[in-house]
Symmetry: C2
Subunit: 331 residues, 2 copies
């Protein structure tokens, strides 16, 4: 196996977040499913935007957030995702490339605009997402250069892309190439409702290609269709070589064969907005793996990154997470 | 005089801010004038964007920020400013209109894109602005409906618009209509370098039309060309019926005839980003005037709004400034 050119290749929906704070009544009045990511069409996007107050725009997209995290940690990172040839697309591209991340996916010309996700943050810091996928849905296997998955230690795939056949085909292609080259392939389960939609396909994908599975408690329980994490663990264990399970402020679990590593979560002074928590955990965890750190340190790196991002509005780091993670490495 | 339809009509450059944090060395390496607003062209904008890290996009524009503040305080507000028919223009329009602010200026079609201001926030919370005016420069007198300045208690004009002849003509038109209708006209001095560029015209404008002048210490000193605020006060006093002077964390001064009201500034726990401080002071101050509050209370309302906006990234309020100002009214 040749020397890897990248630590992590990230592939996902290229989205600009439109973040605003709302009272809980806003969610109930507009029939929004709290805590979940719901796909909406262009008309509903226009309608919701008309209902919401002033917002902040910030590049997002689940696995793109992870890419930003890996880049901010100093990892060598590449990204594949589809924006349109418009202002939001330029913003997204800038924010990824300015972190030194390789991002050469061509923009969609003359089609749907760049994706946006309206993110409603409630006083309890929970985020509820309504996503118009726009140009994202036009990601195709042709957007995956043959040499990219083969030259990255890890390919990290976004489960949300299973919502569109062409995008799914693009990720499957990347997974096949990566595994054929002897590389690791990680999957984000993205969202429990996403797992509900694609459970059987996810199980097949995981069985065929995935070496590292990353999800939260609700997502992994949905994957194996049981109600308790205790019942889920023995079912999950044989599915992938390594499984990292985040559980909000309860200890993170990492399964590897029969081994279980349980890592308590450091306290966060004030949780403002949980957007990006799982994405930043994945960034720190994968960065740790690419640096051959012990599993507990990988998980702690993820926790530190997640702790930073939930302490402010927006899904990407504001503070110097590289220094924060380095300070924790004495773990 | 008929009943006013609006409390404040705000007119200014319609800008989307692109905010990022940088070390001081970034400013020196790129020859940026710390603390100032500098105009840049499209090429320089592209170059600077390529040099800067990930950013947050948020609607800005000095007097547009004040409009957002007046709207958030519950004032009846209108806005006149020029965006393009593009995504950033839609974002700007949404963020203004979603506060219930009347904003009907038609977008520029097929011309320059919506203005953006790159705002570099240094660790000392100072902001340095590099602004590409784009569509803003196409604001013309035709964009000022005859009935608007006549139907607002106050028209609030942005000094920055003197940088472009047509925009200047638009504001002069509004000032003339407002005064002819017996309304108040307020001017923001915007920036000490803006005052340097337009000192003589500003003096003529103030003499002819302005009843309320708003600026910080550096701006008013530049206006009367003296080095100390003590020397400036007697020169300023006869220029306008009322003059409000902000002085960072030192007491705000309000001059009215021979009267001087000095209002100490409440402490702010942590200053994060001073972007919008002057704009939000103006919002609270004008809102107080439209509610016939005593001058000290007007100034305090302005200080409370400014205190909120400097405690987070971005030029517009995050918290409920209406409740915050109401809590201070026992002053």
């Amino acid at each position: 196996m040749t020397e890897a050119r990248f630590d992590v290749l990230c592939m996902g929906n290229a989205i600009v977040d439109v973040l605003t704070t709302v009272p809980d009544t806003f969610l109930s009045q507009n029939g929004l499913n709290k805590g979940a990511m719901t796909l909406i069409d262009a008309n509903r996007a226009e309608e919701l935007y008309g209902l919401m107050g002033p917002a902040i725009e910030r590049s997002g997209g689940s696995v793109a957030n992870s890419a930003a995290g890996v880049g901010a940690l100093g990892g060598r990172c590449a990204y594949v995702g589809k924006v349109a040839n418009d202002q939001l697309g330029e913003i997204f591209r800038h924010d990824v490339q300015s972190l030194g991340i390789h991002f050469e996916t061509g923009p969609l010309l003359g089609g749907a605009p760049t994706a946006r996700s309206f993110i409603f943050v409630t006083p309890d810091a929970e985020r509820t997402m309504q996503t118009f996928l726009g140009a994202c849905t036009e990601l195709t296997p042709e957007d995956v250069p043959e040499d990219l998955p083969a030259s990255a230690k890890f390919s990290y795939l976004e489960g949300y892309l299973w919502d569109k056949p062409q995008a799914k085909a693009a990720l499957s292609k990347a997974a096949r190439i990566a595994r054929a080259a002897g590389r690791e392939v990680a999957l984000s389960l993205s969202d429990q409702f996403c797992v509900d939609r694609h459970r059987d396909e996810f199980r097949t994908l995981i069985n065929d290609h995935i070496t590292v599975l990353i999800g939260n408690e609700d997502e992994v329980k949905s994957l194996v269709e049981v109600d308790s994490i205790e019942a889920a663990l023995p079912l999950l264990r044989p599915m992938a070589g390594m499984i990292a399970i985040t559980r909000s402020d309860r200890p993170t679990l990492v399964l590897r064969g029969e081994e279980t590593v349980e890592v308590p979560v450091p306290a966060v002074a004030k949780v403002v907005d949980t957007t990006g928590a799982g994405d930043m955990f994945a960034a720190g965890f994968l960065w740790g793996l690419t640096n051959d750190l012990p599993l507990a340190k990988c998980a702690r790196a993820g926790q530190v990154c997640a702790g930073e991002v939930i302490s402010h509005i927006g899904p990407r780091p504001d503070a110097d997470i590289r220094a924060m993670v380095r300070a924790e490495r004495g773990l």
